[in-house]
Symmetry: C2
Subunit: 335 residues, 2 copies
DNA sequence: ACGTCATATCGAACCGGTTCGGTAAATGAT
DNA sequence: ATCATTTACCGAACCGGTTCGATATGACGT
């Protein structure tokens, strides 16, 4: 492995000059610069990122932390962030917290120990204590999807109340009144907001909500399955179900199929977020989708500028809220 | 940030002793060890992984490189590897090559520059030159899914010829003779082997193969879609189609739906590999699935032992071949 | 009592860069 | 011609660990 000293020796300059030539070429004489570049070519010198990190106290790695990479939603965001990061010379270190707040915290601390340049985080931790933890973190963080109140960080996400508002209004217009709602983990930002969107819209339309039709599916497949089962085995089952995310929505569909209900003839279904191959799923599900690519793009851009800007010039945290899009399928029918 | 020197000072020993205490506690006197541990607790000292990497010339990062994290198959493997890696104190650095061999190579070199401990690789590069590149790589690599002949590396994968052999036999038994085959990128190990499995089984059964029914879908959704379109718009279209992976298989299903063909009534379909939510896709697709979790497990184990074992004790590379499992769905019918 | 050997600890070199203060030469102003 | 300033480059300290040869101490065998 050739080091910076080899290059310096070959070019007949000091190592600090080589370092200069690498980092701010304009500050080096034209002819010297030339000799150094020659030396670099001929030795095949590659800078050692580890040594650089140690010396600079900052690496060229970006962390991506989310709950579930398997969910296409996060996958798309990750792809976009990775894409932009690579363009800017950053590598992406990915960590999956599996939705466990303690693990997530440990991961963040490990990332920080790696002197990571910045972190894109879809948080799963909640509460004031966690917000403080995030606020006092020294590494730049841009949060996406899940906003943590009090963390005082940039946030990129969707208008979550609107997602369920749209779906609820759609179902109300079709004449549904008994609507089951499979919510996400209570306490989680998007889950609370989506639930609120549902509740408020129902209330706004003057429709009573049967509290027992509002269940918590935890955003997971298994949770959604269990709760959908509960909803659909009832004698007075709902005429329509809203899944607060793609996992619970599809889990509900699965339960319908398992139980022999036809969708939408027997029960209507709508959900938030798409899945891959949704167009080969029968029936095509009515949903509200977020623009994952755009979310990833914004997150990456914000993070990169955070990283680039000297910490002194700390711009105040900003929220970027995208408007979700309604995609009508054939899983909802007029009552 | 407290360093090892702070600990040493507080414990009244030299830094080398602290380092010793950290790495081989038994070689340090009981009382001294105690004092050092006290000092570590009270200062909240955390070892700096970057400095450690620089000094050791090896980090505690493991690389995971594959073509498409979005594909559940790779996602499951990744999860398993990450799981085991974390257990052993390793972090996983994930990189998505998007199937581009040149990018993959660049990624591997970057990973190596990070002094990564080891790499789990689903290769996309091909050819002798690439094999040499992999063979001469100094970092431990365990390849999975895609075997590269001549790379002389450990390999964990499935019996690929068997996957399509099973599907082909199944279709033959149902009376199908005109079977379309949407293959993967030619030159890629699994693609070639799966194609071979199909061809040999057909030949073995004495069935002529119409070469125009064998098309290359590149393992991608778009490729599969285009090729399925070609197959199904023909006047003498096949009575059954095999997708060499989940992407092309589902793409074929999508085309059928778009064109108004019913599956399996008009055309039968079978594919290799599962997708999430396959059980809400109608019809349930007949497939051969690999045990992704087991693959990930084996890959991780092998990689960890490679990393642990001194390079001197270079065990010869080994192949671990798993047997895929047939899952009958309702997408194939008797002619 | 003495040489031998194992044990506990230390000092210093090293990993491969960055960064800052300083110097010598060149440029510019007056 | 003189002094101030800029330009080009260098030396050395530093980032925070690891590792190996050296030293001191005490135990052991005879």
């Amino acid at each position: 492995m050739t080091t910076i000293r080899d290059v310096a020796r070959l070019a007949g300059v000091s190592i600090s000059t080589v370092s200069l030539a690498l980092n701010s070429p304009k500050r080096v004489g034209a002819e010297t610069l030339d000799r150094i570049q020659q030396a670099i070519k001929s030795t095949g010198y590659r800078i050692d990122p580890v040594a650089q990190t140690l010396a600079r106290g900052r690496s060229s790695l970006i962390g991506f932390v989310s709950a579930n990479l398997g969910n296409m939603f996060f996958g798309d965001i990750r792809r976009e962030i990775e894409h932009q990061a690579l363009d800017h010379g950053y590598f992406v270190l990915i960590a999956d917290s599996s939705g466990r707040a303690d693990l997530e915290r440990a991961l963040l601390e490990r990332l920080e120990a790696q002197k990571i340049a910045g972190i894109a985080l879809a948080a799963n931790g909640r509460g004031e204590e966690y917000a403080t933890f995030l606020r006092d973190f020294k590494t730049p963080i841009v949060m996406f999807d899940q906003k943590v109140e009090g963390a005082e960080r940039d946030f990129v996400g969707s208008d979550n109340p609107l997602t369920t508002t749209i779906l609820t209004e759609h179902l109300l217009q079709l004449g549904h009144r008994r609507i089951g709602f499979i919510s996400g983990p209570s306490g989680l930002h998007t889950a609370d907001e989506r639930l609120k969107g549902f509740m408020n819209t129902m209330a706004g339309a003057g429709v009573d909500i049967d509290p027992s039709l509002v269940v918590e599916g935890g955003y997971t497949r298994t949770g959604g399955h269990a709760q959908a089962m509960r909803l659909l085995t009832r004698r007075d089952r709902p005429t329509a179900i809203i899944g607060a995310n793609n996992m619970t929505g599809l889990a509900a569909l699965q339960v319908m199929q398992e139980m022999g209900f036809r969708c939408p003839d027997d029960v209507s279904l709508a959900m938030v977020d798409d899945v891959p191959w949704s167009n080969v799923i029968t029936p095509r599900i009515t949903m509200v989708v977020q623009d994952a690519q755009k979310l990833g793009e914004l997150t990456a851009q914000r993070l990169l500028t955070r990283i680039a800007s000297p910490e002194g010039a700390a711009a105040p945290p900003e929220d970027f809220i995208l408007t979700p899009r309604f995609v009508r399928g054939e899983s909802t029918r007029r009552l």
